[in-house]
């Protein structure tokens, strides 16, 4: 099982492997256990590598360590209006000069900013922390008003021209899509219900932090909006989502009102949108916003690190919901900053604000 080298071709989720390891016949058990063990050691090695790198160049660092500074490997294709991700020509590869095509250049620059964010802030080498190429596809489809992560690439449409425009215009949208790759590589959060909404929220957190760092903004100066530049001028709205005020990003006759809740009491049960992953993400989004603004300063430094290390925590399972994730963030904050620290208090206040309990018995 799962013989491919990249994790993206490995479709057997850990809980299934665990079940095979517990219930399968001899050979099945052996194979499942081997895969589980390998996944776990890869994860530990990644965490270890990230910690070493996050320290930056140390005194007496040897030549090899310096020479091995990770670099992005961007590969932008033009789908030329077709719904094909792997056929269109490469229009800009790493080190190439600008093409003059806005979507291609925005994707190249935005992926570079996001790569730099993960490397310089968290010591992470690309999506998989092993230097994975950043594959971007622009001009995908006809009047395609979406951007997505296909498990391997970040894909961007030009918009329908009626409600949504070119998706690469917003840096946080580019960061959001690359963030899905990071979440998939680290935690494999299932794209359904609460685990899916957490997956979405992690992407909004990363997207927003990439933009805040690019603008050198502290938490109280940031707009905490996702996709400010993608609505067409005729839509009444500031952005697609607001982490500061979920539910208030837009209100328009054509597209309706922002449906995001900011508290568990308003959690939306639905089968649409994979169980409301883009709706209920408002809850963890607002918890992060609350924690980050209570702490002040640059949000990526403390709140961002707590969330990022929570994503790497061994207790995070693919089906983890809000309450379990909240408890993990608290544990990580305790480990990084101490039990009586202001950071722990801010994390607890963040989850309290949105009605997600963090006490052990919850």
């Amino acid at each position: 099982m799962c013989r491919g080298r990249t994790p993206f071709h490995c479709f057997v989720p850990p809980h299934v492997l665990r079940s095979i390891a517990e219930n399968g016949d001899g050979d099945q058990r052996k194979a499942a256990l081997a895969t589980l063990t390998r996944d776990q050691s890869i994860r530990l090695a990644r965490v270890q590598n990230a910690k070493v790198r996050a320290g930056g160049p140390r005194e007496g660092a040897d030549f090899l360590a310096v020479a091995a500074t990770p670099r992005p490997d961007r590969r932008i294709r033009d789908a030329q209006g077709r719904e094909e991700v792997a056929r269109g020509p490469f229009v800009r590869r790493e080190g190439d000069p600008p093409t003059g095509d806005k979507a291609a250049d925005e994707a190249y620059d935005g992926l570079g900013d996001t790569f730099g964010f993960f490397l310089e802030v968290y010591g992470r080498d690309s999506i998989d922390d092993e230097g994975m190429p950043l594959r971007g596809v622009v001009h995908f489809g006809e009047q395609f008003a979406n951007a997505f992560w296909d498990g391997r690439r970040m894909v961007f449409g030009d918009g329908d021209g009626v409600i949504l425009g070119r998706m690469t215009r917003s840096l946080d949208v580019i960061g959001h899509e690359l963030g899905h790759g990071v979440t998939e590589a680290e935690a494999g959060l299932e794209y359904w219900g609460q685990s899916g909404a957490l997956n979405e929220s992690m992407s909004d957190v990363f997207g927003s932090l990439v933009e805040q760092r690019k603008r050198n903004q502290k938490a109280d100066a940031a707009d905490w909006l996702i996709g400010n530049e993608v609505w067409t001028p005729k839509i009444k709205g500031d952005a697609l989502r607001s982490m500061k005020a979920p539910g208030q990003a837009y209100d328009d006759p054509l597209v309706g009102k922002d449906p995001q809740p900011a508290h568990m009491r308003d959690y939306v049960e639905t089968v649409d949108d994979n169980g409301g992953v883009h709706i209920n993400s408002g809850i963890p989004n607002h918890a992060f916003y609350t924690t980050a603004t209570k702490l002040g300063g640059f949000a990526w430094e403390r709140a961002g690190r707590i969330w990022y290390e929570s994503l790497q925590h061994p207790a995070l399972k693919p089906t983890t919901g809000f309450a379990r994730f909240a408890r993990i963030t608290l544990r990580v904050a305790e480990r990084l900053h101490g039990q009586t620290s202001g950071e722990v208090k801010a994390v607890r206040e963040g989850w309290d604000k949105v009605g997600v309990p963090t006490s052990a018995g919850a």
Binding site: F148, I163, L164, E177, W192, G227, V271, D272, D273, H278
Partner: protein, 97 residues
């Protein structure tokens, strides 16, 4: 033939809906749409499931009433045959004027 369509998800998380009687469409468009839907195994689509590969894909909810035959599928966009998906997108986009 009656179609009730819904497309949700995508990075914007917007939901578009459309209800269509193929007999009320221009003749050729209605006929092509009926043939396209009849060629597609809607129940088979449902079995492929709604769980997406990756993230921020569109999710389609397609309900069909064709005489006595009824079928419905909730399915992630990459599992819908491209020709049908384009036809559904055109019908949904039309709702935006």
């Amino acid at each position: 033939m009656r179609l009730a369509l819904k497309r949700s998800g995508g990075i914007a998380g917007l939901t578009l809906r459309a209800e269509v009687e193929t007999e009320e469409l221009p003749e050729e468009e209605g006929r092509e749409l009926r043939e396209l839907v009849r060629r597609t195994n809607i129940e088979g689509l449902a079995e492929r499931g709604s769980r997406p590969r990756g993230a921020d894909r569109y999710q389609y909810d397609v309900a069909v009433e064709d005489g006595d035959h009824r079928a419905r599928a909730v399915v992630s966009g990459e599992h819908v045959p491209p020709e049908l998906r384009s036809a559904l997108d055109r019908l949904l986009q039309r709702q935006l004027g």
